[in-house]
């Protein structure tokens, strides 16, 4: 299952890389790409516990760059 987010106010490129690294380690995340340039995050998830995984993803994003607002596409 594919989920896309726009990360508004993503200002720090290194943070985007860190997010990608941490989110990729989550269970249930098959692949993740955080593009600093297009401010898009694309997730490929397993079909189960989607809500739980997404809330973890959101927590990681907020932890690394607190000002970022996530918007689902």
């Amino acid at each position: 299952m594919k989920v896309k987010y726009i990360l508004e106010d993503l200002d720090c490129a290194n943070c985007a890389a860190k997010m990608e690294e941490e989110i990729s380690k989550l269970d249930g995340v098959n692949s993740v790409n955080v593009s600093f340039i297009s401010t898009k995050m694309t997730l490929e998830l397993a079909e189960e516990n989607v809500d739980e995984i997404l809330s973890k993803v959101e927590k990681i994003v907020k932890k690394i760059e607190p000002d970022v607002k996530l918007r689902k596409v």
Binding site: C12, N14, C15, S35, F36, I37, P66, D67
Partner: protein, 620 residues
């Protein structure tokens, strides 16, 4: 007020206070310290707040945190002006960096500005403006002049000129009429069109192209992987070095603690790998976007990088070097009028759909009168026999002539030769062949100039034809009379010969040679527009059927890689240099801030060059 403007005002106020504090020496010690602190708070408050937030989130090695430590550290050792100035300088740099990032984000967006926002669909006799996603197959949409074509379809009413440049890079508008296929992403220039939708938005060309470009950056290049690994270790290493610098020399050498602390603090300022983390992916994104604008779709940063290392290009003849369309090249009549020979031949081929027959009929141009043709017989492996205008016409190969004991003259031309006999008398021959594309020769020459060492042509065609074509366009090696499976094996042989870091690209039309496209290091499909099979199988898709796009693609890939290398060398070089000079006490916080944000700004500006492809460099 925009975020950037607010920051600018803060910087100005803070800078004024700093100048006041530095210039007016007569100020009371505590008053001047007060002014420094005020100035620092105005400009650095956000950084400090972010730093605190990040510590609460256990993000120790964050840029804000390290910046805060280094400036507060400077305060503690009494370097007040430096502390404030570094924070100001840092914020100015951040401002520049934000500006550059925003600007490049905007440029990238405009590169991809082919997404249609709405579709005018005709429902119950009324025009409704809806999201392209909501239009179903077989619905009729209306496209006014100046509007983007939102979905793929077939024109049912009207005619117009189409601007296809966003799909093909071709600037000359294309004429379209009733019955023509129309692709989403083009812009309708002149007339009003009604179009029957043949594909939903998801499946339409424009959406496929956009998805392809957006997903391209997820396939990372080696340079990008190197940068992510570098970034992961760089910050911790620099921070550890900084700590060691602050502690070890004072203990071991009994040196002054504050001097070494000052040096350690400069390290912290340079500890962000931002310049690289932003600029390298940006270069690839720019290169891919710039290529798309030329009608070249690159499916991943890795392919763009690999393409710059290609030294052998293997091409399929038909559809790549030649047009893949058979055309009458020469008519040699014998005791008969040229036009009459063509006419009778075209009539005899009336029933046949073979490419040769089609080319004969299209050369004749006029409509065939069926009442003039009788007794058509297909003679397998020989040709056809028919009665046309009461005459017995034989059209076919040499064997057919021999079989009917006709005295013929053997043609020495290259191509497919069709012999004709009328009432058992030899009437001459017609030569049909596939035309070489206008840009083939110049493109092969351009490839060689760009460092391609070997060009190879594979074809199922006869040896004579293959050799003439390859000689005409300047191909190095030819393998002819190959069956489709032979082509694949030949390609494998070529791949085996290639050793080291050099790569082999295969160019084909994407319809019959999907296995070869997949097997080669880089598979390039020509004429990909509207062909799902080609887009699926290839790594690089050339939307038009112009072979000249290949040198263009090589050019873009080489330019992108050059920019990436420049940025890596420049950024790492400056950082390491300032780290060394900082450890020796030669460079101060000022140079450190330049090595951090200054380098970022320069690298971003350099990366943005990858987006622009200079048409005047167009080699073909």
């Amino acid at each position: 007020m925009s975020k950037n403007k607010k920051e600018l005002i803060k910087i100005c106020i803070s800078l004024t206070l700093l100048i006041v504090a530095v210039l007016i020496k007569s100020l009371d010690q505590y008053v001047s310290l007060g002014i420094y602190i005020l100035s620092y708070i105005i400009v650095g408050k956000n950084v400090v707040i972010k730093a605190v937030k990040n510590i609460l989130n256990k993000q120790w090695l964050d840029e804000n945190f390290l910046m805060t430590i280094s400036t507060i550290g400077a305060f503690c050792i009494g370097e007040y002006p430096e502390a404030v100035a570094v924070m100001i300088f840092y914020q100015v740099g951040e401002l520049f960096q934000n500006y550059a990032v925003n600007k490049s984000r905007k440029s990238i967006k405009s590169l991809m500005d082919i997404r249609p926002d709405y579709a005018n669909v005709i429902r119950n006799g009324k025009i409704e403006s809806v999201d392209p996603d909501d239009v179903k197959i077989d619905e009729i949409i209306e496209i006014k002049s100046g509007e983007k074509v939102p979905l793929d379809g077939i024109i049912v009413e009207g005619n117009s000129m189409l601007d296809t440049s966003s799909l093909t890079g071709e600037s000359v508008p294309r004429r379209v009429d009733i019955g023509d296929e129309i692709l989403s992403g083009c812009v309708n220039i002149s007339g009003l069109l009604k179009v029957k939708v043949t594909k939903v938005y998801e499946e339409s060309t424009v959406n496929k192209i956009l998805e392809l470009i957006e997903n391209a950056t997820t396939k990372k290049s080696k340079s990008e992987n190197f940068i992510s690994r570098f970034a992961k270790y760089y910050t911790p290493i620099v921070v550890i070095l900084a700590i060691a610098l602050a502690i070890l020399p004072p203990i071991i050498l009994q040196a002054s603690f504050s001097m070494w602390l000052a040096r350690a603090l400069t390290f912290l300022v340079i500890s962000c790998p931002c310049a690289l983390v932003i600029s390298v992916p940006l270069s690839f994104f720019g290169g891919i976007g710039g290529a798309a604008k030329q009608g070249i779709l690159v499916k991943g940063s890795n392919f763009l990088e690999m393409f710059s290392k290609v030294d052998t290009i293997v091409m399929d003849k038909t559809g790549t070097i030649t047009k893949g369309v058979f055309k009458v090249q020469k008519i040699c009549p014998n005791n008969i009028d040229k036009a009459e020979l063509l006419k009778l031949t075209a009539y005899a081929e009336y029933n046949s759909n073979h490419p040769i027959a089609v080319s004969l009929k299209s050369e004749y141009k006029e409509v065939l009168d069926t009442s003039k043709i009788q007794d058509i017989q297909e003679l397998t492996g020989l040709g056809v026999k028919a009665r046309v205008y009461g005459k017995q016409v034989l059209v076919g190969n040499l064997k057919l002539m021999k079989k009917h004991n006709i005295k013929y003259e053997e043609a020495k031309d290259i191509g497919t030769v069709v012999y004709v006999a009328i009432d058992n008398e030899y009437a001459g021959y017609i030569v049909i062949s596939d035309e070489i594309k206008e840009d083939s020769k110049a493109s092969i020459e351009a490839m060689k100039r760009m460092g391609i060492e070997k060009t190879i042509m594979l074809t199922g065609d006869k040896r004579e034809v293959a050799e003439v074509v390859s000689k005409n366009v300047g191909i190095d090696e030819v393998y002819s009379e190959l069956l489709p499976t032979d082509k694949f094996h030949k390609l494998e042989d070529i791949l085996k010969l290639e050793t080291g870091s050099k790569k082999v690209a295969f160019v084909g039309d994407g319809i019959n040679d999907a296995p070869s496209l997949a097997r080669s290091d880089i598979g390039i499909a020509m004429g990909g527009i509207g062909s799902d099979a080609a887009i699926e199988a290839a790594d690089i898709v050339i939307m038009t059927d112009e072979i000249s796009k290949i040198p263009t693609a090589i050019n873009i890939s080489k330019k992108t890689i050059k920019i990436v290398k420049q940025n890596i060398v420049f950024a790492i070089g400056v950082k390491v240099l300032v780290l060394i000079l900082g450890a020796l006490g030669i460079s101060s916080m000022w140079e450190a801030v330049f090595a951090d944000v200054g380098v970022s700004v320069i690298a971003i500006i350099n990366a943005m060059r990858a987006m622009r492809y200079n048409k005047s460099l167009h080699i073909v």
